[in-house]
Protein backbone atom coordinates (compact mmCIF):
# COMPACT_ATOMS: atom_id res chain seq x y z
CA UNK A 1 0.00 0.00 0.00
CA UNK A 2 1.44 3.44 -0.89
CA UNK A 3 2.20 6.21 1.59
CA UNK A 4 -0.90 7.97 2.90
CA UNK A 5 -0.31 11.43 4.35
CA UNK A 6 -2.73 14.12 5.47
CA UNK A 7 -1.96 17.55 6.87
CA UNK A 8 -2.79 17.17 10.54
CA UNK A 9 -1.72 18.27 13.97
CA UNK A 10 -0.78 15.08 15.81
CA UNK A 11 -2.99 14.39 18.79
CA UNK A 12 0.10 13.65 20.85
CA UNK A 13 1.36 17.18 20.11
CA UNK A 14 -1.72 18.74 21.68
CA UNK A 15 -1.10 16.74 24.83
CA UNK A 16 2.60 17.60 24.82
CA UNK A 17 1.89 21.33 24.65
CA UNK A 18 -0.12 21.03 27.86
CA UNK A 19 2.66 18.95 29.42
CA UNK A 20 5.25 21.63 28.51
CA UNK A 21 7.18 19.20 26.31
CA UNK A 22 7.30 21.49 23.26
CA UNK A 23 9.17 24.79 23.52
CA UNK A 24 9.21 26.93 20.37
CA UNK A 25 11.09 29.84 21.94
CA UNK A 26 13.74 31.04 19.50
CA UNK A 27 17.35 30.22 20.42
CA UNK A 28 16.68 28.98 23.95
CA UNK A 29 13.84 26.61 23.14
CA UNK A 30 13.88 23.14 21.58
CA UNK A 31 15.29 22.31 18.15
CA UNK A 32 12.73 21.60 15.46
CA UNK A 33 13.31 19.84 12.16
CA UNK A 34 11.38 19.11 9.00
CA UNK A 35 11.91 15.63 7.59
CA UNK A 36 10.62 14.61 4.18
CA UNK A 37 8.80 11.48 3.09
CA UNK A 38 9.55 9.45 -0.02
CA UNK A 39 7.37 9.49 -3.12
CA UNK A 40 3.90 8.07 -2.53
CA UNK A 41 4.52 4.80 -4.34
CA UNK A 42 7.94 4.29 -2.72
CA UNK A 43 6.66 3.68 0.79
CA UNK A 44 3.76 2.26 2.74
CA UNK A 45 3.13 4.20 5.95
CA UNK A 46 0.13 6.24 7.05
CA UNK A 47 0.83 9.66 8.51
CA UNK A 48 -1.60 12.07 10.12
CA UNK A 49 -3.15 12.78 13.52
CA UNK A 50 -1.96 9.44 14.89
CA UNK A 51 1.70 10.15 14.05
CA UNK A 52 3.55 10.65 17.32
CA UNK A 53 7.26 10.65 16.58
CA UNK A 54 9.90 11.11 13.89
CA UNK A 55 10.71 7.43 14.32
CA UNK A 56 7.30 6.68 12.76
CA UNK A 57 8.77 7.72 9.40
CA UNK A 58 11.25 4.85 9.53
CA UNK A 59 11.95 3.59 6.00
CA UNK A 60 9.40 6.02 4.53
CA UNK A 61 11.80 8.92 5.05
CA UNK A 62 13.55 10.19 1.96
CA UNK A 63 16.91 8.50 1.44
CA UNK A 64 20.07 10.31 2.43
CA UNK A 65 21.86 12.07 -0.43
CA UNK A 66 20.93 14.06 -3.54
CA UNK A 67 20.51 17.21 -1.47
CA UNK A 68 18.69 15.58 1.46
CA UNK A 69 20.24 14.64 4.80
CA UNK A 70 18.53 12.06 6.99
CA UNK A 71 16.62 13.82 9.76
CA UNK A 72 15.74 16.73 7.51
CA UNK A 73 16.42 20.43 7.75
CA UNK A 74 16.69 22.24 11.05
CA UNK A 75 14.04 24.92 11.25
CA UNK A 76 14.60 28.39 12.61
CA UNK A 77 11.79 29.01 15.04
CA UNK A 78 10.34 32.43 15.73
CA UNK A 79 9.27 32.85 19.34
CA UNK A 80 5.50 32.30 19.55
CA UNK A 81 3.39 35.37 20.04
CA UNK A 82 -0.28 36.29 19.90
CA UNK A 83 -2.43 37.82 17.20
CA UNK A 84 -5.63 38.94 18.85
CA UNK A 85 -6.72 36.02 20.99
CA UNK A 86 -4.82 33.42 18.95
CA UNK A 87 -1.37 32.11 19.85
CA UNK A 88 0.77 31.76 16.75
CA UNK A 89 4.01 30.01 15.91
CA UNK A 90 6.27 30.58 12.92
CA UNK A 91 9.37 29.21 11.25
CA UNK A 92 11.62 30.70 8.61
CA UNK A 93 11.17 29.13 5.19
CA UNK A 94 13.47 26.18 4.65
CA UNK A 95 15.21 25.16 1.42
CA UNK A 96 16.95 22.03 0.16
CA UNK A 97 19.48 23.25 -2.40
CA UNK A 98 20.98 21.27 -5.25
CA UNK A 99 18.26 18.72 -4.67
CA UNK A 100 17.07 15.80 -6.77
CA UNK A 101 14.20 13.87 -5.19
CA UNK A 102 10.49 13.24 -5.12
CA UNK A 103 8.54 13.68 -1.91
CA UNK A 104 4.87 13.55 -0.94
CA UNK A 105 4.98 15.18 2.48
CA UNK A 106 6.92 15.91 5.62
CA UNK A 107 6.95 15.96 9.38
CA UNK A 108 7.86 18.83 11.65
CA UNK A 109 9.25 17.33 14.82
CA UNK A 110 11.08 18.25 17.99
CA UNK A 111 14.59 16.83 17.80
CA UNK A 112 15.43 17.86 21.36
CA UNK A 113 14.96 15.38 24.16
CA UNK A 114 12.06 16.45 26.34
CA UNK A 115 10.52 14.23 29.00
CA UNK A 116 13.07 11.60 28.09
CA UNK A 117 11.99 11.38 24.46
CA UNK A 118 13.30 12.98 21.29
CA UNK A 119 11.57 13.27 17.93
CA UNK A 120 8.13 14.25 19.20
CA UNK A 121 5.86 15.06 16.24
CA UNK A 122 4.47 18.60 15.83
CA UNK A 123 2.82 18.74 12.41
CA UNK A 124 2.28 16.35 9.54
CA UNK A 125 2.39 18.08 6.17
CA UNK A 126 0.89 16.67 2.99
CA UNK A 127 2.15 18.16 -0.26
CA UNK A 128 -1.03 17.18 -2.07
CA UNK A 129 0.74 14.54 -4.11
CA UNK A 130 4.29 13.88 -5.23
CA UNK A 131 6.52 16.92 -5.69
CA UNK A 132 9.70 16.46 -7.70
CA UNK A 133 12.84 18.52 -8.02
CA UNK A 134 15.86 17.84 -10.20
CA UNK A 135 19.19 19.61 -9.59
CA UNK A 136 17.33 22.55 -8.14
CA UNK A 137 15.92 24.13 -5.02
CA UNK A 138 13.02 22.74 -3.02
CA UNK A 139 11.45 25.06 -0.50
CA UNK A 140 8.72 24.93 2.10
CA UNK A 141 7.23 28.36 2.69
CA UNK A 142 5.52 28.88 6.00
CA UNK A 143 2.57 31.25 6.14
CA UNK A 144 2.43 34.62 7.87
CA UNK A 145 2.21 34.24 11.64
CA UNK A 146 -1.29 35.65 11.85
CA UNK A 147 -4.40 34.39 13.63
CA UNK A 148 -5.97 32.91 10.52
CA UNK A 149 -2.82 31.70 8.77
CA UNK A 150 0.04 30.67 11.08
CA UNK A 151 1.50 27.22 10.57
CA UNK A 152 0.78 26.24 14.16
CA UNK A 153 -1.79 28.19 16.11
CA UNK A 154 -4.05 27.86 19.11
CA UNK A 155 -7.27 29.82 18.71
Amino acid sequence: MPISVTTEMPTSFKVEILRALQDFTASTGNTFKLALLKATASGSGTFGAATTNYSNLSTDELANGNGYSTGGNTLTSVTPTSDGTTAVCDFNNTTWSGATFTTCGGLIYNSSTTGGTSGRACAVLSFGGDQSVSSGDFQIQFPSPAASTAIIRIA
Partner: protein
Amino acid sequence: MIGSVGGALIGEFKVSHVSGRGFSPEEIAEMALEKIVYVGANSHPAIRDQAEAFKGQIREVLVRYMRQAVASHNTTLMNRFRDAGHPELIKLLED
Protein backbone atom coordinates in the same frame (compact mmCIF):
# COMPACT_ATOMS: atom_id res chain seq x y z
CA MET B 1 -22.88 29.74 29.05
CA ILE B 2 -19.52 28.51 27.87
CA GLY B 3 -18.53 29.38 24.33
CA SER B 4 -15.63 27.96 22.43
CA VAL B 5 -14.39 28.46 18.90
CA GLY B 6 -11.08 27.34 17.49
CA GLY B 7 -8.58 24.86 18.80
CA ALA B 8 -5.07 23.89 17.82
CA LEU B 9 -4.71 24.32 14.08
CA ILE B 10 -2.26 23.86 11.20
CA GLY B 11 -1.92 26.67 8.62
CA GLU B 12 -1.54 26.49 4.88
CA PHE B 13 2.05 26.24 3.74
CA LYS B 14 3.44 26.35 0.21
CA VAL B 15 5.82 24.03 -1.58
CA SER B 16 7.98 25.69 -4.22
CA HIS B 17 10.57 24.00 -6.36
CA VAL B 18 12.61 24.74 -9.46
CA SER B 19 14.70 22.26 -11.40
CA GLY B 20 18.02 22.83 -13.10
CA ARG B 21 18.57 26.16 -11.35
CA GLY B 22 18.09 27.97 -8.06
CA PHE B 23 15.37 30.46 -7.21
CA SER B 24 15.60 33.83 -8.95
CA PRO B 25 15.62 37.16 -7.05
CA GLU B 26 12.05 37.74 -8.25
CA GLU B 27 10.88 34.38 -6.87
CA ILE B 28 12.64 34.89 -3.56
CA ALA B 29 11.27 38.42 -3.30
CA GLU B 30 7.76 37.01 -3.65
CA MET B 31 8.45 34.53 -0.84
CA ALA B 32 9.81 37.28 1.37
CA LEU B 33 6.83 39.51 0.63
CA GLU B 34 4.43 36.92 1.94
CA LYS B 35 6.26 37.07 5.25
CA ILE B 36 6.57 40.85 5.34
CA VAL B 37 3.09 41.91 4.27
CA TYR B 38 0.00 39.88 5.04
CA VAL B 39 -3.34 41.16 3.80
CA GLY B 40 -6.23 39.49 5.60
CA ALA B 41 -9.10 38.11 3.55
CA ASN B 42 -11.57 40.25 5.47
CA SER B 43 -9.59 43.48 5.28
CA HIS B 44 -11.39 46.67 4.25
CA PRO B 45 -10.91 47.22 0.47
CA ALA B 46 -9.22 50.60 1.03
CA ILE B 47 -6.74 49.08 3.46
CA ARG B 48 -6.19 46.15 1.13
CA ASP B 49 -5.42 48.54 -1.75
CA GLN B 50 -2.92 50.42 0.39
CA ALA B 51 -1.30 47.18 1.49
CA GLU B 52 -1.05 45.94 -2.10
CA ALA B 53 0.55 49.25 -3.18
CA PHE B 54 3.03 48.99 -0.31
CA LYS B 55 3.72 45.39 -1.30
CA GLY B 56 4.51 46.52 -4.85
CA GLN B 57 7.04 49.06 -3.58
CA ILE B 58 8.69 46.57 -1.24
CA ARG B 59 8.84 44.02 -4.08
CA GLU B 60 10.85 46.41 -6.25
CA VAL B 61 13.27 47.19 -3.43
CA LEU B 62 13.73 43.51 -2.56
CA VAL B 63 14.38 42.47 -6.16
CA ARG B 64 16.84 45.34 -6.70
CA TYR B 65 18.85 44.54 -3.59
CA MET B 66 18.75 40.80 -4.16
CA ARG B 67 20.14 41.27 -7.66
CA GLN B 68 22.89 43.40 -6.13
CA ALA B 69 23.61 40.66 -3.60
CA VAL B 70 23.87 38.05 -6.38
CA ALA B 71 26.17 40.28 -8.42
CA SER B 72 28.28 41.02 -5.37
CA HIS B 73 28.54 37.34 -4.47
CA ASN B 74 29.55 36.57 -8.04
CA THR B 75 32.37 39.09 -7.67
CA THR B 76 33.51 37.24 -4.56
CA LEU B 77 33.37 33.92 -6.41
CA MET B 78 35.28 35.37 -9.38
CA ASN B 79 38.09 36.36 -7.04
CA ARG B 80 38.10 32.94 -5.41
CA PHE B 81 38.30 31.23 -8.82
CA ARG B 82 41.14 33.56 -9.85
CA ASP B 83 43.00 33.01 -6.57
CA ALA B 84 42.55 29.25 -6.95
CA GLY B 85 44.10 29.38 -10.42
CA HIS B 86 40.90 28.81 -12.38
CA PRO B 87 40.22 32.14 -14.16
CA GLU B 88 38.46 30.23 -16.97
CA LEU B 89 35.57 29.51 -14.58
CA ILE B 90 34.84 33.22 -14.28
CA LYS B 91 33.19 33.12 -17.68
CA LEU B 92 30.50 30.81 -16.28
CA LEU B 93 29.40 33.55 -13.91
CA GLU B 94 29.32 36.17 -16.62
CA ASP B 95 26.89 34.28 -18.87
